[in-house]
Subunit: 317 residues, 2 copies
């Protein structure tokens, strides 16, 4: 049998990663192009994506590339458009019909969704969720994203925008302002930025005069992690708080879709038990008895550098 | 073409409603039998259900009955068993294999799930959710139940117990104790019993000396509704609080599955705008802008007296 491939395209605010991937998740060719195109340059960008895919596919032959998967901010599965994506100037005030454009140019089917959804499909195709039919992927990065798999399929919902678990509310009143304009969102507390902000806020109370983080100019989640490893009480308390909020939120998600596992991806997931410990405790303390100690918390198996392309490519199979 | 029917069986703590239903949701025959069977009488009960179905089917002919749908507390779709249902003595400490038993006796396929899930399928088959592929059914009765439809299918999850939205947490700290043993569950506040409890608690503060509810011995949600209609401030405040909590919870559900509508069933739903008004306001205040004023709140179209049989029967189609 002829070996087949798909192309994975991950569109970010700054750059777009493109790769050619085989069935087993091996990236046989990849590159990075800029995403910085102005409002009237959408077509140039889309053409550039097509040219890049053709170029990368030269070695395996374009005929062996059977589809293209695209993960993009505000990528809508149903419409096939990138819709009003604030961080992408070429799509900020419009719907860019990326699916139909690339299908026409390359003559292969194109599947579009947002990056967190793509990560979930990537995990199911190549990663730790292989064989799982019901799980929730949580991506802890600059924001908190999610992709929900029910019965082996990604949940898109009525409008294509399902799975925005980062914007469920974890604090009811006087919650922290989130980038989305709401208050008290999970993302405002449990993203890398949210956790760093908690550390800064708590330092400002003056209750942790001995924390080495007092000496750090711009605290990041990485600084908090490194301080925790050294036993800093502030850092340990921040992990406890962040993990607890995340676990409480996951308990609510479990009541919704009764998943087999919560798969966690992204920078914060690398903090291991510092975040997973309190997360697991809070999750199990807040679910019905039928789910206590039954739902696994699993770190993603995808290497962060490859995950974007793999996730996007997985959509295409 | 021969006209076909299904049997609907709704098992409650006290009684079991059984009916024969046609495609359009007309109940052509129905009756009620007792559910009160002891731990060692499960088989007698199951035999009684089979006999009752055969008896009810006499007029249309048993051959025209193509399936049986059963809604039961802790009814598990996957295992086909009623599992450890605290309010059903015959199934309190065991798994009762109701699906296989009835299939063997009657020779037609049997579908089992819990009552709230059955209500959702009933609404999709005969009610206001006809034609909808993504919606969430919330049943506001003694408890708060839910059934979630995604892509035209009921969500069962990994273990068959998905859709327990009544046990998502709406109050994070020092929440009210729920029947499930947890604290702060939606059900503890937004069930008929929860709402009546809120009224009693607020009366005890002494802040509503003029409320006519002070004179009521055992306040029910119906009392609160009637007081609200007469303009009682306590009752209006209780509806405001209850509806707000419900709307906030629904905002989180929307972030999960992006439904077209929230369909509300049960006693409290009959309070109309007293509950829907604050619910709608809180829901729209807590969703991402993409969903603001986009998700409908729809009262169930099923008559309460028929809903149990219709919901159960709908599973069988």
């Amino acid at each position: 049998m002829e070996k087949t491939y798909v192309a994975g395209v991950d569109i970010g605010g700054q750059t777009t990663k493109i790769g050619i991937v085989d069935r087993d998740g091996a990236i046989v060719a990849q590159t990075v192009i800029t995403s910085k195109y102005a409002a009237d340059e959408g077509e140039i960008f889309l053409t550039s994506i097509c040219d890049t895919i053709r170029d990368l596919a030269k070695e395996v032959g374009m005929a062996a590339v059977k589809g293209v998967g695209i993960g993009a901010p505000n990528g809508n599965y149903y419409s096939g458009c990138i819709e009003y994506a604030v961080n992408l100037p070429f799509a900020k005030n419009s719907k860019v019909p990326i699916k139909s454009f690339i299908e026409e140019k390359l003559g292969v089917p194109v599947t579009l969704t947002n990056d967190a959804n793509a990560a979930a499909v990537g995990e199911m195709t190549y990663g730790n969720a292989k064989g799982m039919k019901n799980f929730i992927m949580i991506t802890l990065g600059t924001g908190v994203g999610s992709g929900i798999i029910i019965n082996g399929e990604l949940v898109y919902g009525h409008d294509g925008f399902a799975g925005e678990l980062g914007h469920t509310k974890v604090i009811r009143k006087n919650g922290r302002r989130c980038g989305c304009g709401q208050e008290g969102c999970l993302e405002a507390y449990c993203s890398a930025i949210g956790m760093a902000k908690t550390a800064r806020e708590w330092l400002e109370t003056g209750k942790y005069p001995d924390s080495p983080l007092n000496a750090v100019e711009e605290i990041t989640s990485k600084d908090v992690y490194e301080a925790a490893v050294k036993g800093d009480q502030l850092a340990l308390d921040v992990f406890q708080y962040t993990g607890t909020l995340l676990g409480e939120a996951c308990a609510n998600f479990i009541a919704f879709s009764a998943p087999e596992a919560i798969v966690v991806f992204g920078g914060l997931a690398r903090s291991g038990e510092y975040i997973f410990g309190p997360m697991r405790t809070a999750m199990n303390a807040n679910v019905l008895s039928v789910w206590k100690d039954k739902v696994a918390i699993v770190p993603s198996a995808l290497k962060e550098s490859d995950a974007a392309i793999l996730g996007a490519s997985a959509l295409a199979w």
